[in-house]
Amino acid sequence: MAKHTILVFSYAWILLVPMSLSAWDPVSVAVLSSGDVAILDSAQGILRVSDGTVRKQLIKNFGFLRPVDFTTTPATDGDSFLVSLKMGQNTNDPFTRLSRWNAAGKQTAEWLLGRPGGVLAGVAVDPARQVAYCADGRLGEVYQIDLRGRKPSFISIARIRNAGILGPLVFDPRGQRLLVADVAKGTIFAISLTGKQVDVLLEGGMVVEPQAMVFDADTDRLYIADGTKRRVWVTTTSGRHPEVRTFAGALKDPVGLALARDGKTLWVVDRFDQVLWQFAADGRIIAKIKL
């Protein structure tokens, strides 16, 4: 047996509070109905940010499961959260699930995917019809689940051939379609919800690692956080030749995007620097909040 190499100190590091033990590990961000921002953190659950400060821990943690992505839906008692979860760090996960939490931090429902080899990734919701959509990062499928059904279950609505790793997912209410990104290849797909047809919206290459997306239906703008090129792309989805713009800012690893209700402010959470950025629509930096 190899000899151990241990650095010996006189006393061990005393760690009493789980939150102080875990550093930040933000993975997604969303805007609440109140205008505040919620951050999904794999170690610390869901936290609310208002007036530039992390105010409250809405959901403490997810037990042995790790969150991947989330979205919010308005509810009578405040926003509820739909969170895609997987067990530990496995990329093949029989326990991957979608769970719903209310504003008080209580879990109100959960749905196991139950497919061998599948793992849930991005999540989006149609709030009008109360239908959630999830991308499967391993099987290349997109599922829908009726949240108001008596026994909701995942139904596959599209399978993308030769997909790398499906990740972020957004819902386009006007176009009645889903936009899903391939994290490994940089491709953005559009899935029609009426005909279930899959089209390529943006070929991979320019966008390398789309880790998050947010869609502004009023202006037809799709914002894409690129983890490799360390920037946020902006493109329109209509027209034969979509144009792309980039945001300035010292981004290191943008993993989450959220758009304010008025469409004038973009929130970007950076996993590497553990920072929440606030940008104006023209790319100007409004605020930088250290987590």
């Binding site: 006393y11 033990l21 760090q89």
Partner: protein
């Protein structure tokens, strides 16, 4: 598809142009190319995607750091910092590989970001990865050490477990070794911290702490901490004696100490190992004998009440105490060698205060007949594992007698 960069409209046009150039600069294709081969392992493989490169003015990592691995070919130098390897939220792993052309002056490097994806289940490991680096199709081949990761992660830090509670004396400190082992054969792990031990009953302890391993301690593949990590326990005597008299907790333990060890392997986020240490309070043997003696004298009071002379009392007391002590000592030896001690059908632990006292009382109640009782004890079922079998229901073929004739009624049934 046209590409435009956006800047603040208030800026002068020259600055806008400069910013546009800066925004576009990272997008320019670098001259250096890099490819990484897939790695085949038992039960799986690890695939690398197409590296994306951008030119940096200087190398942003410390090449002398322990976490930095280096490789070289005839014309190129490569570095990778293991601390920069990490798993993305959707599952793949990101690597940053820095390449410098030896023939070029200056300190500029090309930073390549590569995404790696596991296929299949295998242990995380550090392995040599074949790469090709070059320019305009002229590629040179080399090997660089990189961590690769399996699809399914398992607990890689193994801690101790105990089937039986650890004995802790009532009034002294106990050090318990907590050997931790890195179960991965080709990947080190880092112990990031050990939380303050938590007891089910905090009031039992005056001291409970973990000593020996500090922050950022590394365990090589397959290595263990040996006895360098220790749990130090010091019970509060009064509370411990109370606990020893009255059985606490489940089974034969008096308390359960839980310790959480936080650790991480390269590229993965942290995990936690939970160690549960069951403990049982054990009095010193001398104290047990004293308690037995006290119980014997207490039990002796009943048979001696007002009937015997002082001389008889002393004789009975001496015999009782001696017999009680001998029985206690014998029971301790035999129980320590996996026998059972039963009194009136109840299994008792002679190493605990209350059973020792009860033993003394029982022997004491036999009074001056304790010597006879001792002989009976030696042949009794105290030392047997199974209780005595019930009397046979089948009558044995013996002669019967009528009750009126005065014969022994029990003889017919044996």
């Amino acid at each position: 598809m046209r590409l435009r960069s956006v800047t603040n409209a208030a800026f002068p046009w020259r600055i806008m142009l400069f910013a546009a150039v800066l925004a576009l600069a990272p997008l320019c294709a670098t001259a250096v190319e890099l490819e990484l081969d897939r790695v085949l392992v038992d039960l799986g493989r690890f695939e690398f995607g197409k590296p994306y490169g951008e030119l940096l003015p200087t190398l942003p990592i410390d090449v002398h750091s322990e976490s930095v691995q280096r490789a070289s070919t005839d014309h190129y130098l490569l570095w990778v910092d293991f601390d920069e390897v990490r798993q993305t939220k959707f599952g793949p792993f990101d690597y940053f590989i820095y390449v410098r052309d030896k023939s070029m002056a200056g300190s500029a490097v090309t930073q390549f970001k590569v995404m790696g994806t596991p296929v299949g289940s295998f242990d995380d490991q550090i392995t040599g990865v074949v790469f090709r680096v070059g320019n305009q199709g002229r590629l040179e081949t080399g090997t660089i050490s990189l961590p690769i990761f399996g699809s399914a992660v398992r607990d890689s830090l193994i801690g101790p477990s105990w089937k039986e509670p650890i004995e802790v004396f009532l009034a002294s400190e106990r050090l318990i070794a907590l050997p931790l082992r890195n179960d991965l054969k080709a990947m080190p792990l880092e112990i990031r911290g050990i939380r303050d031990p938590l007891a089910n009953d905090q009031s039992l302890w005056s001291v409970k702490e973990v000593k020996g391993v500090g922050v950022k301690a590394h365990l090589a593949p397959g290595a263990d901490t040996g006895e360098s990590l220790m749990l130090r326990l010091q019970p509060k005597v009064t509370r411990a004696v109370e606990s020893a008299l009255v059985q606490r907790g489940k089974g034969s333990r008096d308390d359960l100490i839980t310790i959480w060890v936080d650790y991480a392997t390269q590229g993965r986020t942290g995990r936690t190992l939970k160690i549960e240490v069951p403990v049982r309070f054990v009095p010193f043997p001398l104290l047990l004998f004293l308690v037995t003696m006290g119980g014997a004298l207490l039990g002796l009071l009943a048979p001696l009440a007002g009937k015997e002379r002082n001389q008889d009392r002393l004789r009975a007391a001496a015999a009782t105490v001696v017999v009680a002590l001998v029985i206690e000592a014998l029971s301790m030896v035999l129980v320590a060698n996996n026998s059972e001690f039963r009194l009136l059908g109840f299994q008792l632990d002679p190493f605990q205060l209350l059973p020792a006292a009860l033993l003394g009382v029982f022997v004491g109640m036999t009074g001056y007949r304790s010597l006879d009782a001792f002989r009976d004890v030696l042949v009794a079922e105290f030392w047997k594992r199974t209780p005595p079998s019930p009397p046979s229901s089948t009558p044995s073929p013996t002669k019967t007698t009528s009750p009126s004739s005065g014969g022994k009624p029990g003889a017919a049934n044996g």
